[in-house]
């Protein structure tokens, strides 16, 4: 009897399903959403995959776009979601959402409500990328990319590859919210825009470049590429990218350096003007990948001078960012946070008036740039005729002012 009952129970358990189960093909899987402000209403744009149209590599055909972009409007986000749901006729599934693109207008009005909605939702996940789009977010989601089937896929690919080019910060909801709640830190987010492709009449392309600057949850301005690089240098997010160093002799000749690694450190000390002083130390190393005919690459002294040059360039970039931050009175570099963490007592005095005080801070920047490798060749291949004609002149050392003097203390200058 007992055995039979247990068999029955086991069998019974197989017949049970989930209370609110919903088969996969009855669901609309949302990969990314865009939120815009249209008039007084919120316009929600979702990119929904069409499973039937996403073909594997090698398969051809499929009708039209593999994704479907649909919109819904409402005064609140939930109303917009419901509006969208009635237009799609399926249960919307948000748990696979990877990107939230916020349109510029909405971002200026404040993105707090949007983040709150997704923070609160049962399926909300804080590792969802947050981007601000120039113009409408809808446009971003509607853009087709060549290599990826779905444009959200393109966005996430761009975000993942950002460490390759370091042109925008990669910020997800978690980081953004943490910035917002940390004293003395203005949030930033990646900036995305579309631009016509270079070839004539080509379709628009997505670009993830620059960064959006917030005060609390409101967009106030954005950083251009140089300033964004400064931001990434200072916050230790510059993981890879190119730094162009002009030849010491001739500005039109440019070395290209691939940065492979960078670190940054912020230190707070007492400043002269009674305010704290910040010392930012940036370290980076990289390899030379393109060299013009300039200098002797086999000479460690010359490499040293190039390193110094690079450090100077990085410093200029950081200074551009700094002056922007001062102009905006927005502490997106986290100086306040550093003071709060190290000297909480002092911070409690500074905090009420921080946005006014912040630009007066003294900031000392120290950059240490290293060139580790120069690639497979030593010097670039010379032009044949030049060799014949100028063989002797070439042997004369290119005694540019930059490396005839010691590039660093204790440098041995080899007479040629």
């Amino acid at each position: 009897m007992r055995a039979r009952l247990s068999v029955l129970l086991v069998l019974l358990s197989l017949t049970l399903g989930c209370w609110n189960r919903l088969e996969l093909e009855r669901r609309a899987i949302i990969l990314g959403i865009g939120v815009d402000k249209v008039g007084e209403e919120i316009q929600l744009t979702a990119q929904i995959v069409k499973p039937a149209a996403v073909k594997g590599p090698g398969e051809t055909g499929g009708e039209g776009k593999p994704f479907w972009v649909t919109t819904g409007t409402g005064r609140t986000l939930l109303a917009a979601v419901k509006d969208m749901a009635t237009g799609s006729g399926r249960e919307l599934l948000f748990s696979h959402m990877r990107v939230i693109v916020v349109g510029e207008d909405l971002a200026r009005a404040g993105i707090g409500p949007v983040l709150d909605f997704f923070d609160r939702a049962a399926e909300g996940r804080r590792r969802t990328w947050l981007l601000v789009s120039k113009g409408e977010a809808k446009e971003i989601l509607e853009t087709n990319m060549e290599l990826q089937k779905v444009s959200v896929e393109a966005l996430t690919d761009l975000l993942k590859a950002r460490t390759d080019h370091s042109e925008a910060p990669g910020i997800d909801i978690q980081q953004f919210q943490r910035f917002r709640s940390t004293p003395g830190r203005a949030p930033v987010a990646g900036w995305v825009y579309t631009a016509p492709s270079k070839e004539k009449g080509g379709p628009n392309r997505l670009h993830l470049r620059n960064s959006a600057i917030f005060r609390a949850d409101k967009l106030i301005d954005y950083l251009d590429l140089t300033e964004t690089r400064g931001l990434l240098w200072l916050t230790g997010q510059f993981k890879g990218g190119v730094t162009e160093i002009p030849c010491p002799d001739e500005d039109s000749k440019i070395f290209a350096l691939e940065n492979t690694r960078s670190e940054s450190k912020l230190k707070v000390v007492k400043g002269d003007n009674g305010l704290p002083k910040l010392i930012a130390t940036v370290f980076t190393e990289g390899n030379l990948s393109e060299a013009p005919e300039c200098g002797d690459l086999t000479d460690p002294g010359f490499i040293k001078s190039l390193e110094q040059h690079q450090a100077e360039i990085i410093r200029t970039e950081i200074e551009a960012t700094l002056s922007k931050a001062r102009d905006l009175h927005a502490d997106f570099l986290g100086f306040g946070e550093m003071i709060y963490r190290r000297f909480p007592m002092q911070w409690s005095r500074l905090e009420p008036d921080w946005e006014q005080t912040f630009p007066k801070l003294e900031v000392q920047i120290e950059v240490n740039a290293k060139i580790r490798r120069i690639g497979q060749t030593n010097e670039p291949a010379p032009v044949q005729s030049e060799i014949r004609t100028f063989r002797f002149t070439h042997a004369v050392p290119l005694a540019g002012p930059t490396y005839s003097q010691p590039a660093y203390p204790g440098q041995v200058i080899v007479p040629r």
Binding site: W19, D119, R178
Partner: protein, 364 residues
């Protein structure tokens, strides 16, 4: 004797760990962080010390009556009418705290996973399983726990390890910037969790070595304190001040996990910890409620009480609180003095009276 089984001291310790750990991992970090902010971990250290004291108190009382539970010996200490009253308080306490845990359990499942399932369905499901475990007796419960606890602890460790890349120790700074008061205030709601060793008041008579109950209880509190400390450090270094805003930081942490884009969204680990640990916790309190009422009523067997009390618990867990806010408000504020006076206050009083009696006995 109502319960014929015996459990080893180690099994009792494991039961305690699971009883205290499960709910505290999910609910405590946010509750503590509301007051203590980034110093939550100091609160945990402080409250673990207090938890050790409570465990010492509870077991040294229980050890004086190694063959009896608190329901029985409170009658000896206080006399029949008063002792019965104290017994009744304990019965009500076990029923109330269990309704509480069951409601917490269901609310968690409902908020995050089965959003459209009715409350009563989840509640009945968990009580049904627990009732079965309780009917099978303490020995069975202890052995099931020996299977479950390692899984629970492993899941916690796994989640923390996989979250390591997202942690930033700077979030712990500044330390004690606002002094000790917020730290103490943050530790306050944690007290009722760490005083849950009071279930030992019911379990001591069934230990193989009742005399050495103290070390089992102390070890259990230490293990809970350690894990709680690790979890608090994990979520604070990851979320910073956001911990106070997020209701279930541990869940948010497991959701945030992403290792090489391959291992993602590990919230099933949280679900596993919660359902398995919650089952043990509910069963332990259920067992205490059933056993204490049987002893209060001088029954020969506690089994007939299991189903009626199960029904009462379903009812209680649903009607006692209107919404999840009332629940969390109560646990963080109003209920604490009452729980503490039962968990620690009454044992302290009983121990005090026993000591006086012992001293007098020696004099005479």
């Amino acid at each position: 004797m109502l319960e014929k089984g015996k459990i080893s001291n180690r099994q009792a310790g494991w039961l305690l760990v699971n009883t205290i750990l499960t709910t505290s991992i999910l609910f405590l970090p946010s509750m503590i962080a509301r007051e203590a902010k980034q110093d939550s971990w100091i609160s945990i250290v402080a409250i673990t010390l207090l938890g050790l004291l409570a465990a010492l108190l509870i077991t040294s009382l229980g050890k004086r009556y190694p063959r009896q539970s608190v329901i029985q010996y409170s009658r000896i200490i206080l006399g029949k009418p008063l002792g019965t009253l104290v017994g009744l308080v304990f019965v009500l306490f076990f029923l109330y705290i269990n309704s509480f845990v069951i409601r917490e359990f269901s609310e968690f499942v409902l908020t995050l996973f089965l959003t459209k399932t009715p409350l009563v369905a989840v509640t009945i499901a968990i009580i049904f399983v627990s009732a079965y475990a309780v009917r099978s007796g303490l020995e069975v419960l202890a052995r099931v726990n020996e299977l479950i606890l390692p899984i629970v602890l492993l899941m916690v460790i796994l989640s923390l390890l996989l979250s390591l890349p997202d942690m930033d120790v700077h979030n712990l700074q500044p330390v004690l910037a606002r002094g000790w008061f917020p730290v103490i205030k943050g530790a306050y709601p944690a007290a009722i969790f760490f005083a849950e060793t009071s279930v030992m008041l019911m379990l001591i008579p069934f230990l193989k070595e009742s005399k050495r109950a103290t070390s089992a209880a102390l070890k259990a509190v230490l293990v809970v304190g350690l894990f709680q400390l690790l979890v608090i450090l994990g979520v604070t270094t990851q979320f910073g001040l956001e911990v106070a805003r997020i209701k279930f930081p541990f869940l948010a942490m497991t959701r945030y996990i992403s290792v090489f884009d391959i291992i993602e969204r590990l919230e099933p680990t949280t679900m596993l910890v919660w359902v398995m640990g919650g089952f043990i916790k509910i069963s332990v309190f259920f067992y205490c409620a059933v056993l204490s009422s049987a002893q209060l009523l001088n029954l020969k067997d506690y089994r007939p009480l299991v189903l009626p009390l199960a029904a009462l618990l379903v009812l209680g867990s649903i009607v006692l609180w209107d919404n999840v806010l009332e629940l969390s408000w109560q646990i963080a504020r109003s209920i604490i003095p009452f729980f503490l006076s039962v968990e620690v206050g009454i044992p302290l009083l009983l121990l005090f009276l026993t000591r006086i009696r012992e001293l007098r006995g020696r004099k005479i």
